[in-house]
Amino acid sequence: MKIRLQDGTARTYDGGAARVWEVLLALDENPAGVIVSRNGRVIPEDTVLGRDDEIRVIRVSHGG
């Protein structure tokens, strides 16, 4: 599974099918602080992803 991050970098998740939140926690991202899209559509954090899926992770927390 391929994960595209906001800074333009990409990472992979090799744990097979998994829910979005499981993938996020494996990447050390807090599911409460990000929005995830697949094929341009926002998906909830309990969506089950396939090993061939590609997702985009957008951090929503900004500011000082």
Binding site: N30, T47, L49
Partner: protein, 309 residues
């Protein structure tokens, strides 16, 4: 585990969901999420009577997601066109590589919504950019920025004849502020209501903390203070007004960043934590009615709007 594929279905219509509400335990599709969030913001406006006929509201518009969504919603919810006037104010702090992009978004958003827009700069008002102030040493960048931004917003709003300043503070911002006040041991801060509300809807008056502006001037209103940051961002994405913008280069070292990590983690582990922190503070503020406010560090009354977003 379910098979990979479609997202869970919306609990209201069966369409693909875009959002899992972990506090209420339901899935919502895009349309139902938008309607639900608009309903909650509209309820806050009504409950606290945040928009009053005849007023001019100055909207702090940084160009970030929170202030952009705020302006969009206020424009959408104006009681009767013409009875409340909105003016957006953007403060250019003078932060190289950061403010240009957000200022462009702010200009475009105000123009698209047909809202009058003023841009004021630290350079014009204080004679120096934030970058130059930081380079000169002394206070923490966020402290300097907060003091000058409050001043810039207040002075511009008053010059425009506004009676209130609306800021895009969301539920996360408010919970972070409660935690920061605890960490600083700031009892006065801890007993302040998140919303200045001198005349709440009678139905809710007994449980809403009432606060007049300390300087008898501008009211501070935060129509998004009950909406989690993630939902504000999702609303912006679904309505096409979310822009992926750079983060302020000074943000990482602020106490707020520590508070953010703390409350975000707790919210994930125990959904609803943010709301409970802010509701608890509202109750405390109600119990502490009558305690005089402490002047701010800069000698200004706390009536000046905070501008964290």
């Amino acid at each position: 585990m379910a098979l990979p594929g479609r997202p869970p279905a919306c609990d209201l219509c069966g369409q693909d969901a875009v959002f899992l509400d972990r506090v209420r335990g339901c899935h919502l599709c895009g349309d139902h999420f938008l309607r639900d969030m608009e309903g909650r913001v509209r309820h806050t406006l009504w409950e606290y009577r945040l928009l009053r006929p005849g007023e001019r509201i100055a909207v702090a518009l940084s160009g970030g997601k929170d202030s952009t969504v705020l302006l969009h919603l206020l424009r959408k919810f104006l009681p009767v066109p013409g009875t409340v006037t909105l003016t957006a104010i953007t403060v250019d702090e003078g932060i190289a590589g950061y403010r240009d992009a957000t200022q462009r978004v702010a200009r475009e958003m105000a123009a698209r919504l047909g809202v009058e827009h003023r841009i004021v700069s630290f350079r014009d008002l204080a004679g120096s950019t934030l970058d130059a102030m930081v380079a000169a040493g002394g206070e923490h960048p966020c402290t300097l920025c907060g003091v000058h931004r409050r001043k810039a917003l207040q002075e511009t709003a008053m010059a425009l004849g506004a009676t209130a300043v609306a800021t895009g503070h969301n539920l996360n911002d408010e919970a972070q502020t409660v935690v920061m006040n605890c960490l600083r041991g700031d009892l006065h801060g801890f007993t302040r209501s998140p919303v200045r509300c001198s005349a709440p809807s009678p139905r809710f008056a007994s449980r809403i903390p009432v606060r007049e502006p300390a300087d008898g001037g501008l009211r501070r209103i935060k129509p998004l203070f009950r909406i989690p940051e993630k939902e504000v961002a999702l609303y912006g994405m679904l309505t096409g007004i979310f822009h992926d913008l750079p983060e302020c280069p000074y943000a990482g070292t602020a106490l707020r960043s520590e508070a953010r990590r703390m409350v975000d983690r707790l919210e994930y582990l125990r959904p609803g934590t943010l709301g409970r922190i802010v509701r608890g503070q509202e109750e405390l503020a109600t119990l502490c009615r009558g305690i005089p406010e402490k002047p701010g560090k800069d000698g200004d009354p706390r009536g000046r709007p905070s501008t964290v977003t």
